[in-house]
Amino acid sequence: MNEPVEPGLAAEAGAIAFRLNGVARVVAASPASRLSDVLRESLGLTGTKVGCNAGDCGACTVLIDGRQVCACLTALGQVAGRDVTTVEGIARDGALDRLQRAFHAHGAAQCGICTPGMLMAATDLLARNERPSESEVCDALGGVLCRCTGYRKIVDAVLAAAAGEVALAVPAAGRAVGSRAPKTDGAAKLTGAERYGADRWPPGALWLRAVRSPHAHARFSIGDLAALRARHPGLLDVLTARDVPENSFGIFPDHKDQPVLADGLARFRGEAVAALVGEYETVMRIDEAELPIRWEPLEARTEIGQALAATDAPIHAARPDNVLIRGRVARGDVDAALAQAAFVAEGEFATSLVEHAYIEPEAGYAERVGDRLRIFACTQTPYMDRDEVARVLGVAPAQVHVVPSAVGGGFGGKLDVSVQPLLALAAWKLGRPVRTAYTRPESMASTSKRHPARMRARFGCDRDGRIVGAEFHGDFNTGAYASWGTTVANRVPIHAAGPYVVPNVRATTRAIYTNGPIAGAFRGFGVPQSTIAHEALLDELAERAGIDRLELRHRNALRAGQPTPTGQVLRASCGLAQCLEALRPRWRAAVAAAEAFNREQAARGGDAGRRRGVGIACMWYGIGNTVIANPSAMRVSLRKDGQFVLYNGAVDIGQGSNTILAQIAADALGVRLDAIDYVMGDTDLTEDAGKTSASRQTFVSGNAARLAAAALRRKLLQRLEVGENAELAIERGELVGIEGGRRSAIPLAYLPADARGDVEVGRGEFNPPTVPLDADGQGEPYATYGFAAQLAELEVDLALGTVHLLGIAAAHDVGRAINPTQVEGQIHGGIAQGIGLALMEEYHAGRTDNLHDYLVPTFGDVPPIEVHLIEDAEPLGPHGAKGVGEPALIATAPAIFGAIRHATGVTVRHAPATPDRLRAWIKASAR
């Protein structure tokens, strides 16, 4: 589909000749072009990824004469006469090489967008150093960022490749669930063949470049565009609000508050106000100063306090007090309970804006096909995209065909539409295909973030440390548009008392409009923030009551049969106590070791000392949407060619649903995992599986896949006239059933196929049961919950305020690990994001719109992680499974903060605990 410009063999004047993956190439392009652009655009090799164009992410790493460099920082002219190797050049004769196989076996590629860079850096290392140590691996790969894996499995994979051959697990029929089967979509991520949003475009596609507000709040007017267009013949159109048939979108059907293109009023810095569409070079050359836009900056209210105080001029007329929504859960008499409590701990806590920082910036294309529109783009929710785009264009949903690209990380940030409506408008209006890829600064400025929270909480316990009451209020800065603010405000109160038995609770929230960046969905929907508050207070209660921190949590842990703050009684799969028990031996040893270390340091004196600490934190997380129905439907078919196909509407954003769902379907069918092919997310081919968020795909879509496969199996067995225990197989073009010694077979050629080539289809649907919440938040908001406890060990440099993590142990009740490698991968990746939230991530609009001012953890920032999988089966789940995607992250920051407090006595009240903040707190506490 992409058009590589095949260069002539003779070097033209100015053309650059070099060897690419062993083959001589000559390219006629501007020698100052970035090598990454030339590889991707001129040569069609899209395996080299672009995550930032600034050297910060390393996704574009290639080898020049065997040494790793960033292709985005290399002038084409500099490779003249040299050897360039890209990810496409690693596989030998189409087979994965040893390093790639090691990545595959270890689950070292999740979304896979960083994988080409990782492989190139590792290839360079292994060519120079056959048996590197762990720290040499980190040093060599340290220039490549990964937002999914937490790096540990990448380190393992490189070390394994260095040690020798690596075996891949190939589960037998009926044994896929519970196995460490490599990802079904893994190979393409390792060879560079996978197509992400920016990797596919139709011939002749135009380029779209959004024009964005430089002000957080401003009125603007756009003057005559004719002169601009006359000056730039390659500029075919400039879209403005006037071009948008229905200029509003938003997550909830009854609250569409965000314009596709702002109409005279920009409410946040980075909001799109116009879109330039035309030839790439023309559109990119246009200087923003040339655009006839007149800005009239207005007072920007970016903070919660400012927005609550300034109700004279609300940010949206529909919310005069700037409060988007309130959430509330109330049970028992919390005031009386706290008044009588033996010990009470209270405090205020704040968190910062956190950016998803997936390595793939938003990208895709749209193309008009007759009276239909096709959109290929990265997304977590193809069906919502379809409906949103149809609404904006004023066409029927069936006229929009969404084909999700592979997704280079999402974490909630790709639940909202980004490029889709802009591309759709342009392609629909111009009748030509249009593509775009956000720049890193654009992605960071314009897409959603984690809500900054301002929280106040009070917890009380009796003399034995039993929690008697919890009070919580959280204000969440939702920014200029609603996005998923409502979900956050509704989810937090349910979780705000923690995974404990708390008889008296009052938890309230507000999501507040400001002129800040849009805060939306981000792994955990507000629960990571509120967990920081309750876990800090539990540590304080433990101290006051003189009870060990782990034991206090164990004593209070929610167990099956006990009511939650919403009055829900979990009947099973409530494994927090087991999680704590799994960590107990390490906890005791680590606390004793840290205290011994500190005594020795204190004896040495001086202020330049180091102190160690150990922290523990617990979390729970409702799987799936809060009360709102969230069904998923899957189909599994047998195709005429003998292949089983999973029509899977769930988008795999790297978390592994393509593999998990296939594992479940394979076992339900009774066939080998590799007999199952899949189609992902295509709105013309698959049914709506709901969004990939709320950790719901394993639990909800997993059930749908299981039911669909079981339905297909029943139908096939019926056709074969064999019993339900028969073995099913495809052998030499025949569908075969074997029961006892009896063999029954039907040639596939005899079976009529439908338009897709399917001869039989099974369908399954699942919608987790919930009970709506009343005005006090009483009800059953989720069908099941994930539980976890994490332990962090660290060392604080008192004089510098820096934190060095020594190790993390995580015990997660996942019901059942369908694929332990992937579950561990989710936990590692969540922990890495939790480390970022705890220690370094803080977005400031306009000041940190890149990956060197906005810091996410690197190879050297994630310590060894020990994972304990607790499998307290969920009767409703497929094979007992629940979700783990979000639970992975939630306990990490509070465990780190608990360890900092243990080490220094300082309670972290403002995340992240950057070195300057921590140093200031340490100094203040010493006074």
Binding site: G142, R847, T858, P915
Partner: protein, 278 residues
């Protein structure tokens, strides 16, 4: 279309610069990040093919670091022990990809307040050699870097080399970098120190420089004077005081507060000195 020249001879490069304004391109690790979301359409002089500018050589007892010498070249070079700070800095610049492409001279020319190469070279007393069709001149590094992104380089000049003066066999140096994560991090503050002890173990000559705490990294001359004659043992760190850092002008930014920088810089200075005594 813009012109792009990649000469193989220094003389050709210098005449190109004499012929009109051109942006010099070396490793590109500062050049391209400054152009995110833009096409490169200025006239470029790419100096990476000029063989005579690459590599580290001994010269008059000291070092001559050619302009296109990369951080990786510097790491791989067998340098005397007093150059350790420079190699430690090389290891801390970006990741390996950046070290493989980025040049020492480019780091100086880019003149970022957080340039990791500057403190070590300042402490060592390095000079910058500038070449143009008119000839060559040398400037002490402190006179070359004038401010944030400002240098004394004329539009027709290239930096042809960085020259490090000799230190005695006994001299040792160290570089300490403070950042909020392990790899790929812009310094919140960094310190380089070099101490040359005499035969009796007293400080005969020294250099201490602090970066990221003022628009241009600075030598701490008052401290250096106070150290001369002091016994080089673990107590040497305690000789550094906040007054010695009075010339610094740290600012608040996303990486840290001014107050923190001043505080951390002193800690780093003390630790750097102590590590040289160990």
């Amino acid at each position: 279309m813009a012109s792009y020249l990649r000469p193989e001879l220094l003389a050709d490069a210098l005449s190109a610069l004499a012929g009109g304004a051109r942006t010099v391109l070396a490793g590109g690790t500062d050049f391209y990040p400054a152009r995110v979301g833009r096409l490169v359409d200025e006239d470029v002089l790419d100096i990476t093919a000029i063989g005579e500018l690459r590599g580290v050589r001994a010269e008059r007892g000291g070092l001559r670091i050619g302009a296109t010498t990369t951080w990786s070249d510097l790491l791989a070079a067998p340098l005397p022990p007093w150059c350790r700070a420079l190699q430690q800095a090389a290891r801390e610049v970006g990741g390996v990809q950046i070290q493989n492409a980025g040049t020492v001279a480019g780091n100086l020319c880019n003149a970022s307040p957080a340039a990791d190469g500057v403190p070590a070279l300042l402490a060592l007393g390095a000079e910058v050699e500038l070449a143009s069709v008119a000839g060559r001149r040398r400037l002490p590094l402190g006179e070359f870097v004038l401010g944030n992104r400002r240098t004394a380089r004329g539009p027709q000049e290239l930096v042809s080399a960085v020259l490090v003066p000799p230190w005695s066999e006994r001299a040792r140096s160290v570089f300490l970098k403070l950042g909020a994560r392990r790899y790929l991090v812009i310094s919140i503050a960094m310190v380089a120190a070099v101490i040359e002890p005499d035969a009796a173990g007293r400080v005969a000559r020294c250099g201490v420089a602090v970066g990221a705490c003022s628009a241009v990294a600075q030598r701490l001359s008052a401290l250096e004077q106070a150290l001369v004659g002091a016994t080089l043992d673990v107590r040497i760190g305690a000789r550094a005081h906040q007054e010695h850092l009075a010339g610094l002008t740290p600012i608040d930014d996303v990486r840290g507060t001014a107050e923190y920088r001043a505080d951390a810089a002193l800690t780093l200075v003390r630790r750097a000195l102590e590590s040289l005594a160990a």
